[in-house]
Amino acid sequence: MTARSVNTRRPFKPNWLARFGWLLILVYATYAISALDISWPRFVAGLGNGAKFIGELFPPNFERWKLLVENLLETVEIAVIASAFGVLFSLPIGLLAARNLMPPWASWPARAVICVCRSFHPVIFAILFVKAVGFGPMAGILTLIFASIGFIGKLFAEAIEEISLKPVEACKAAGAPFMSVLIYAVMPQVLNRFIGFATYQFDANMRNSTMVGIVGAGGIGGTLFAAFQRYDYDFLCAILLSIIGLIMISEFLAVRIKRVFND
């Protein structure tokens, strides 16, 4: 082999397919900006409108605090009930979906259920359930139960698929029935993460339960939307501030709950 041929050996091959892909993305982005009428003057005008809107938000108006508290309580109730049932249902569904412990005939239907629950945004579920069970918190609860199953079910199944199978093998070798294997060899490995998912989902449910009201599924969202449409910006501000407070409290609680269960 000559020195020349050593020089021509290239360790990093150019990937023309990837380069073409990047170019394609650039071209599409340019086209989309022009097609959607996104322009600088519009953005600048928008800034002015935004400033005016923010100015009208203050000072916040807490005169109707009774309505506010009532709505917030309903929101919390929706989140708590939906989280409780969502977690309850997602446990068995997530377990069934774990491909390392379950045969395909069990895991595929469970994965399909999770997939359906994940494919719609909560707002779409909320619209469907408002049609089905009428206006009110019931529709919101059902919505968030489905959202929870989609989220926790999937993550729980993945957590189970990542466990070490060594203790499972040991328990099987000792003749343990399947349920005992789950309790002794699987649960201890996933409990921590499951608590993490559940508290995170509770947090998410809290936020989502403020939103489902916009389509009439109960909670503070309905009042928020009404205030917005009536140009009641000072009351709107009060609502937004109380939602921020609520989420901060729930986040604080979530951290505390996790600390109790961690290790």
């Binding site: 060594k166 040991a170 000792a174 003749g175 343990a176 349920m179 005992s180 002794y184 490995q189």
Partner: protein, 264 residues
């Protein structure tokens, strides 16, 4: 110490292991085990030696059906393992204690919970879940933990233990089953030489006290010679040596492992 299985007839069958023409193919037509046959009757320590990938672990797992044998007959303590399924298989497994190379403990559970895992096969699920084991099982678990020298670690979590300590828990778990046969799959491979000897001593001691056969997969030929009553050499899915440690000659080792340089 008396063993509950020592009285009555069938004493020999209770502590026996008969393996006949066992074949295992992971891929059809490419057998890993090509007709393994041997018997172990009564108390004795049998070491299975052989190069990596020759199917030693597969053989042990075929015996308690963690892996399905493709063909052959396996009779443990009078139970034909290959014909069992469901509850009866679990019951039969309960009488085969197994010790693993990487200990296979539940890391997040305490030592005593891990030892009591050996009783899962005979404990109803709800009792296991609520940790409501019969008092005699709990007493026995304490006794075994004491015996393997972990008396101070009863409630310590398994992941806080060293390798040697973990393997001791693994052994206590296997003995907790009151097994008719104890199997150990490379029990010393993850341990230092001194700990390895201690673990082998412990296994031999329990096998003697329980008066049951002990079947050990092992890489270390010297350890095998030192602790075994009988050595089975496997190579490429066949048994190529079966005899006492004294009978094992260099020529046999060459046949089992191939080559000679490593013996120098």
């Amino acid at each position: 110490m008396t063993n509950q299985n020592n009285n009555g007839n069938g004493e020999a069958t209770l502590r026996s292991l008969l393996i006949k023409d066992v074949v295992k193919e992971y891929v059809a037509g490419k057998p890993v085990l090509k007709g393994i046959s041997f018997d172990v009757i009564g108390r004795s320590t049998v070491a299975i030696i052989g190069p990596s990938g020759t199917g030693k672990s597969t053989l042990l797992r075929c015996i308690n059906r963690l892996i399905e044998p493709t063909a052959g007959e396996i009779v443990v303590a009078g139970h034909d393992m290959t014909k069992l399924s469901g509850k009866e298989l679990r019951k039969a497994r309960h009488y085969i204690g197994m010790v693993f190379q990487e200990f296979n403990l539940v890391e997040r559970l305490s030592v005593i919970e891990n030892v009591l895992c050996g009783k899962l096969g005979s404990t109803p699920v709800w009792r296991a879940w609520l940790r409501k084991y019969p008092q005699e099982d709990i007493n026995r678990a304490f006794e075994l933990i004491e015996k393997v020298g972990l008396g101070d670690f009863v409630t310590a979590r398994a992941d806080s233990l060293s390798g040697g300590q973990r393997q001791r828990v693994g052994i206590a778990r296997a003995v907790m089953q009151n097994p008719h046969v104890i199997m150990a799959d490379e029990p010393t491979s993850s341990l230092d030489p001194k700990t390895s000897v201690e673990i082998m001593e412990l296994l031999n001691e329990f096998s003697a006290v329980q008066d049951v056969p002990l079947l050990i997969n092992i890489h270390d030929v010297n350890l095998a010679k030192r602790f075994a009553d009988r050595i089975i050499g496997m190579s490429e899915g066949h048994v190529v040596f079966d005899g006492t440690p004294d009978e094992l000659q260099t020529s046999h080792l060459t046949e089992i492992y191939g080559g000679e340089d490593w013996l120098a």
